[in-house]
Each structure stands twice: as structure tokens, then as C-alpha cells.
Amino acid sequence: MERPQNSVVRTPPNSTAVQRRSKSKSYRQSYRSCLGAASRLGLTPGLTARRLNSSRRALKSHIITEKVNPDHLALLVKREWRLSYITPLHQFRHTQLKRYSRQLSAFIAAEKQQGVAMEVEGSQSGFRVSFSVVQGLAATDDDAETVLIQPQIFSRPVFAKQDEPQKSVWSGWLTCINGNPEYLQSLPKGFTSLPLFGGSGAEVLTSLVKSWFQQTFDCCFGPLEINHTSLQWLAALWTNCHTESNLQHLKMIWTLPVVPPLQITYTVNPQDAWELWMSVRKDRLEKTEDEEEAGSIDIEEVMRFVQGLKSHFYRHFRLDLSAGNLNQVSTALGSAKFSGKIKISNSRYMITTLTLLTECALLKMPV
């Protein structure tokens, strides 16, 4: 495209800013250009400038067990979560969790019992929802504290014995770990961004919880898949931890677009994976003395690592995995599926994994 010649017009020396609005400024701005106005949301979404970080800190074994309530941690790990992204919540207050618990219990009960009058007091129905804040997970000041939701159901509504433990039928959480500070700060007051939502339990309850959130905080839920690149990131990040915490295996599932579709399960010995990873990392580790620098990982390294795995596979089976898609990655540290299911098995590496997922969720924000 030829460069336009700007010589045709010359800007007057005191070029006045073209004021987009004078009378109803703030309103119009917010939906005038998404380049001008919405770039106030930091990330100019229209420009598709938001991408996954091309470089991130290696998984550090955060000792979050000291900071985070062990009960909460126990709930978060070893469970497979189905992920969604959520647009920022309007008028969400961490101080109102008790009230939300009551409202959500009543909501779920009411939806379950359509057509029947409900007692509003949550304790009367079979459901009791508890909202709680997971203190200590937030990585930066901009991050809103993680919120845990646990609807519980009395295993037997009437004859439950006092000491019988209440059965948790569903649990979920909303979180934001290391969210893009520009984006978070650009949100006006009254909005809370907890872009990552994970739910585990009956699909019916998930959709009930979602619709309660939608109606109460005017937010929207969409499915969050863990894309090819993110899965590769996870494979590399987890491999990077092998010396600290045994991977046991690096298992990847690839699908190749042939007829009939071909699914390949590719399991790598953890030591081999680690050595391949080290050969990729060698350059950087040799070059830099700086600990900070040595700790960060670039997307190029991840790609080289995955390329190494692919060419190894090609050498043995004459099948080029580049033609296919990575669908699932699992190690002893956790597993992730393209469909948006994740399991984090080791709480020590939770923060970095959640950071990556928060990034993915923020990428999906429409504005």
C-alpha cells in the first residue's frame, strides 16, 4: 500500500485537538471509538494487540501452603475443573459474600423447585451455598481475591445426623492471578474482574450458578478452551519442574486431521523430556548469570522443545505431528485438555498455571 502524501494539508501550528464530545463527554467516549475510548481499557482489543505473553517466569514452587488455607487448597487441587471466562462483575463486593451465599442458595432452590413457593432462608432448603475468599492467592495488588463457591447439599434433608458430614455437590471458583495490570486498572470503579471461572460438579448446577451470576452482576460466561499454544506452554512449564517434583510422565494427546481421525497418545519418559528441555535451555542458562533472566522462559524455547518432541516422533513413526493439534497434556503435576478442563495436582505450581489461564481468559474479553 502506498504511503499517502500528507503534504496536501498542513496542520495549523496550534492544531486544536478534535474534541469528540463536549456536552456528553464521558458517555460518548465510552462507546465512541474502541481505539480511542476503549483503549482506555488498556488493551485496545480492536487491534488484537492482546496476545499471550511470549515470555513468562518459570514455574516457581511457591510455598503457598503457608499463605493459603489448607482446606481451600485441598479443594482446589486434585479435581478437574471445567473453565469459563467471565466479563467483569458489576457491583461485586468481597464484603457481601454472606449475602451472596443466601441469595444463591435461594436461587438454586427456587430453580430446582419451579412452581413451588420457596422459603428464602437458605438453611431451610436442602441447599446451602458458601462463598469464601481464598486469601493469599492473589499475586499482585491489582488482582481481586479469589472467590470459592461451594453449594452443599444435606445428604439426607430430614434425617441427617448432627455429625454426618455435609456433602458438597458442586464447587467452583472465580479468580484472577497476575491479571494484566493495565486492563485491571482501566476498569471503572464498581467493576471487579475475576475473569477465570472453574466449576466442578453437575452441569445443571454449573449453569444455575452461572445464571445467578449473570443476573446479579450483569456479567457473561463463555467457554474457555485451552488452546494449542497454551497446552504447549503447560507442557514446557511442567517439564521445567521435573527436578523439583517428579513428572512421572509427560503424556500428550494429538489429533491428526485424517479420515478416520487419528488420535495419538505420545508418552515421554520424564527424564528424556527434561534432557530435551535442558538442551533447549542450555544457551540461555550459559549466557546469563542473572538469576532473573535465567528464570524466564520464552515462547521460542517452548516451540523448540515441542519441535524436538515432534521430530523425535517423526523419526520413529514417520508421522509429522505439526499437521495435527495438541489436545491434551498431562503429567503428575496436572493435566489440561483443549476442551477447557484442567486439573492441578500439585499446589506448589498452581500460581503459574493459573496465571497462564487468567491470561487466556482476559484474551477473551470482548471489550
Partner: protein, 715 residues
Amino acid sequence: MAATINMSDSERSSPNDQSVSSRSSNRSLRVAEKERRKNEAEDPFVLALKYFSDVEAGTPVYGNDDFERNLVLVEKVAYSRGLPPEAISIMLEFAMSLRMGSAPCVRVLKCLIPATVVPQEAVVRAVVWLGVGKIPISTQVLFIKWVLTVFDMIDAKDQLRAIYGFIFSYVTEENLCPYICHLLYLLTRKESGKQPFLLHLLSLYKVFCPELVTLSIPSRMRSGFRNHISPWKSALIAVQKRNGSQIASSMGLAFTTMDKTSSRKRVQKSAPTDQSSGRKMVPLVQLHSFAELLENMHRIELPAQMGSLLGSSLALQYLDCVQDESALLRLNFWLGYTLHEEFLFCGDGGATQNSEEALQFLNKLLSAHHFLQEGFSSSEAFLYKFLSVWDGSLLRPQILGLLSNIPVVPSSQIGRLLFEPLMQLFFTSSLFFKCGLMECLNSMLLKWLTWHSVYALEDDLDISLNTSCLRLEHKQTVNLANMTLSGFKDSVMELVRFVGRLASVGLQIEGCHSLFLSFVLDFYETVCDTFLKYGLPLVVMPPSGVFYPALLATDPISVDRLAYIMHRYKVNLTSAKAQEKQTKQAFHISRQTFHEFNHYVVVMVSCLWNSKMFQPGLDVQLGEELLLKSNVPQYWTSFDLIHHPAFMSYAVDFHQKCWPGKKDMDLSSIKHSKPWSWYLEYLFNQGYDGLKQFAQSNISRQLTAGDGQGDTQQR
């Protein structure tokens, strides 16, 4: 096969049923009634119902083809649109009376999906049948479950309440008990309001006959009833969704579907936080006129889900004037989310699956845009992403409509965001897409220019106001200040040049198609007046790839419009120049622009007026030999107003009128001074105002042919 044909027949007839009532006001009632009867008589669905109402008791079921065919028909209608009230009555009566035994009972009950309401009489009669016939107990349970499911759709409950005692007697039937209790519970609640008498009644009953009440009733009543909707759920929801919201609204809604699509029809629910202020708030949804809005302006309560505002012009009006940024952001989040999920992420099969719904949604969005006279930032952000994956045909009018609403794009990004995807689409799409895009870009330019002229004007007036507003604007100002006048001009110029390139190549590809040319000229009619009409100090000339196809077009309208455009260019340029001389700080139009303009005028005048086509110095040059070889006599005259293919017919007509008796037609004779001026007059009188204005502003008085100085010069 027969079933499908019947199906389509009955489908056609049902909208008739609905529309008849609305049309009957215009038409004679008698005619409408007659037509309706006729339709009904032919409608296989009506015939099927007739079968079930008339069938004699004891008719065998097995091997009965009539029965099978008619029931299939009823089922098809039921599962596609639901059954009208009369059909429910007939079918229920048929099933419960056991006229053909109990075998078809379950099947009929399962297909009793109401389209609108359930007549109370039918339910009452069926309850009575419960006591008379020998209906299997499981079928009885199914029937009561059905009543519970459609309970909210029963048109009245008074008669049901009247047989309360009768219904109550079924409590003794062990298997029916929970369902009967549920039904009684529903019936009782309406009457007794806050009185918990049923509660006591049931507890008492439990005390008397504990073996019959399988329900456990704790000291305080719990909601022990369950939903029995499952046999009908999916069909019922599908029918209700398809029939649209009219039922939901009239029935006060029984089932809330919680899937993604329903979030578009948002439920307005008041946000609890606003009430804490103590003032009495008025929900926006309760206001119905602008006057009411004005009255309650100070105490409007926004809905809990802002997406519900999109369809309400009153709400948009309110948003437009209150400057509630967070409300708008909520709307944008929802809108952006919906657009992305529906058209980009396509989670559930995407837009192709429910294109009708998508179409309605986009139309609603478009009308909101038109109402506000600007677009939402979320739809803009969506478009930039969508353009790169769009095939150029999916929902074309809507997408182009949204596109024309996008606000000014900074010139540094306009290429990547707009031009690159649009260029790809343009060169690979049909003529109609090209025309559509041209129209869209013209409308976009018009909006930009209008926006500029409005705000540029306000700027002059509101300088003091600007400073006071700085506080309000916080960070946005930084970004907005970047859009200076020169920045705006750059963007406009980029757009105009881009369209120039598209138009040039497009005209070539499409063989100078006159429809496309007309859209191109529309665009330049906007461009030539930027200075005078919109106060934007910018003049951009069309490229020769547009100028020559218009000048040499075979239809006179295009040539005339080109002349008009050139005339407006001249007016704009002279006025800009005059202003530049007057006020020191006026803008500077480059010599290049004047040069281009003058060149085009010279070409036009020498081609159309002075018969000097193909002369050296003009853009169109052919070798002398080639021209001689063509054997066109006096080839230099072939594009003057007499021989120009677009005007030749006028010249012939003029010649016949001027010299009626003359046998030999010598068009060149028009070129003589007197007939020439008459001819011009004749052309102008045919409505070619563009040519007339062009001539008046560019051709000097002495209209002598061959006068090289006929054109005026700038600078």
C-alpha cells in the same frame, strides 16, 4: 412422505389462524370467517382432531391406520408448534375417556404440548374421567404430572378449585398421593394467601393416615415437591422458544431457560444496591413514554442486566443523556460478548445454525446504532476481528451497516484494521458486494464528516467548557487528545484514497459497470464537498482510474454526475482559496491538488466542448498511425458532446428537431456556433444540471467552438 406434506400444509394454515384475527379488522369479517372455515375444512390437522373427537368407543387401536396417521399428525404439530387450546381439549378428552382403550393414553398425554394455554374445562373433565374410567395407575400419575407441568398455563383455576374436594379424594390412592398433594398445594396457595392451612391439613392427614402419606412433612413445611416436567420438558421449551415471547409474557412465564440464547432476552430485574439510597427508584422498564422518562429522570433505576436496554429507544435515550459510564460499559460487555460468542467463537455451531435469530439481533443492534447515531465500541472491536474471517456474504447488509457506523480510525491503524481485510473481500467478491461496500464506505465517510462538523463547531463554542470537563474525562483525554484535526484529516484522506484505489481497480475488473460506477460517483459527491458542507479543510481529487471511466461512460447520467462533481470541486477550491487569502491561519491546499483539478477540467473541456480528444498533453494518447488506421473520420471529435456515445442519441434527436426536413444527417453541423449553443441549451433542458453548472463555472461566455481558452484556470 404423506406426513411431511400434511405437515407443511398445517404449518401454512396456522399462521393464517393467527393473522386472520389481525387482518379481520381491515377486511369484511364475513369474508375472513368464510376463508377461515374453508382453510379449516381442508387442514389435515383439523381433520385429525375431528377424527379423535368423533371416533367411536371400542374402535380397535392395533392395525388401525387411520388412527396411526392422525396421531402422528397431531404429534408432529405438537412437537413443532404446540397444540392450540381446542386441540388440547379434544386430545385430552380422547385419551382420558379411554374410547380406544388405555393403549394410546400415554402417547397422547406425552404430546400434549400447549402452544398457548390449556383450557380449564378440559382439565376438569379429565379429572372427572379419573374417577370413572379404568385408567392404569401409571397413566393417572402421568396425567397429574402433566397437570402440574402445565399448571401455570391453565387459563383459569376457579373451576379446578371448585372441585377441590373431589381432587382431594384421590389422596387416598397411594401412588397418586404425592402428586395430588402437589396439585392441591398449588390450588390452595392461590386462595389462602399467607395462611398455611394446607400445611396443617397435610400434617393432620399424616397423623390420621400415616401409611398413605409417603411424603415426610417436617415440623415446618419444606418444599417437598419436585418437578414433574421431565416427560415434556425439552419439547415444551423448544415450542415455547419457537413461538416467541408472546406466550411467555402473557403467561407470566413458567419456565426459564437458562441457556445462552435466552440471555439475549434479558429479564429485567432491579438491582438491589440502588435501593439503599432511600429514594424511591423507578425501574426503566416501567416507563412507557418520553414524558414519563423526563418526569422520573432523577430516580431511574437501571435494570440488573443492561443488555435488556438494547431494544428500548427510551432506555437508549436515557443512556445517551445521563453519561453513566459504567452502565454503558456493562452494555458493551454484554454486547461484545454476544457478538463474539455468536459469530467468532461459535461455541455451539455458530451463526449458521440460528441465522434467523442472529439476523434479528443484528437488526436490533443496527437500529440502536441509528437511533444513537453512533456505534458501540464493542461492536467496533468485534468488527475488526470479524472482517478477517468474514466471507462477505453472511448477513452482508447487517455487517456492512455496522461497519458504516465505526468511528474515525487513526490513520496509523486504518490500513491494518480496515483496508487489508476489506481489500481481500472486495477483490474476491461479486459486483453486488463491491457496490455494497462502496455504499458502506460512503456512508462511513459521511458519518465521519458529519461528526467532525458537529464537534468542530461545538469546540469553538465550548472552549471554556472543555477545561472544566477535563476532570470528568480522566484518562480518556490522553487518548482522545491524540486525535487532532490533522490526525482526523489524515484518516479521512487515507479513507478517500483507499476508496479511490478500490474504485479504480473495481471499475476495471467489472468492465466499468454502470451500477458500480454510480456507487463510486456517490462517494465522490461526498468527497468533493468536504470543505463547504462539512468545514473540513481537505480536498482530494479522484484518481484517473475513476475520472476517465466516468468521462467516457456510455450513459449520460454518469458524465453529468462527473460534471457536477467537478463543478463542486471548483466551488470548494475557490472558496478555500478565498478564505486562505482572507484569514492568515487558514489551511494550505497543495499546488498538486490545483494542478490535478485544472488538468481534469482541461481534459473535460477539450474532450466534451472543444473536440480535442487525443491531443498531446492529455492523458489519453494514441499513436497517430493507429488512429488513422482505425478509419474513424475526425477522430478528435469522437468524444465531444455530439459524438460522445452517451450523448449521440441526443444529438440525433436534436438534429431531427432542428432540421426536420433534412435527409442527410450531418451531426457536425451542430458544431456551428448557433446550433451549438442551442444544442447545449437543449441538453441542459433534458435535466443535465451537472453539465449546465460545469459549463457555467468553467466555460467562458463566448461559446465558440475551437476556442482553446474556453476553460478557466486556477492559479
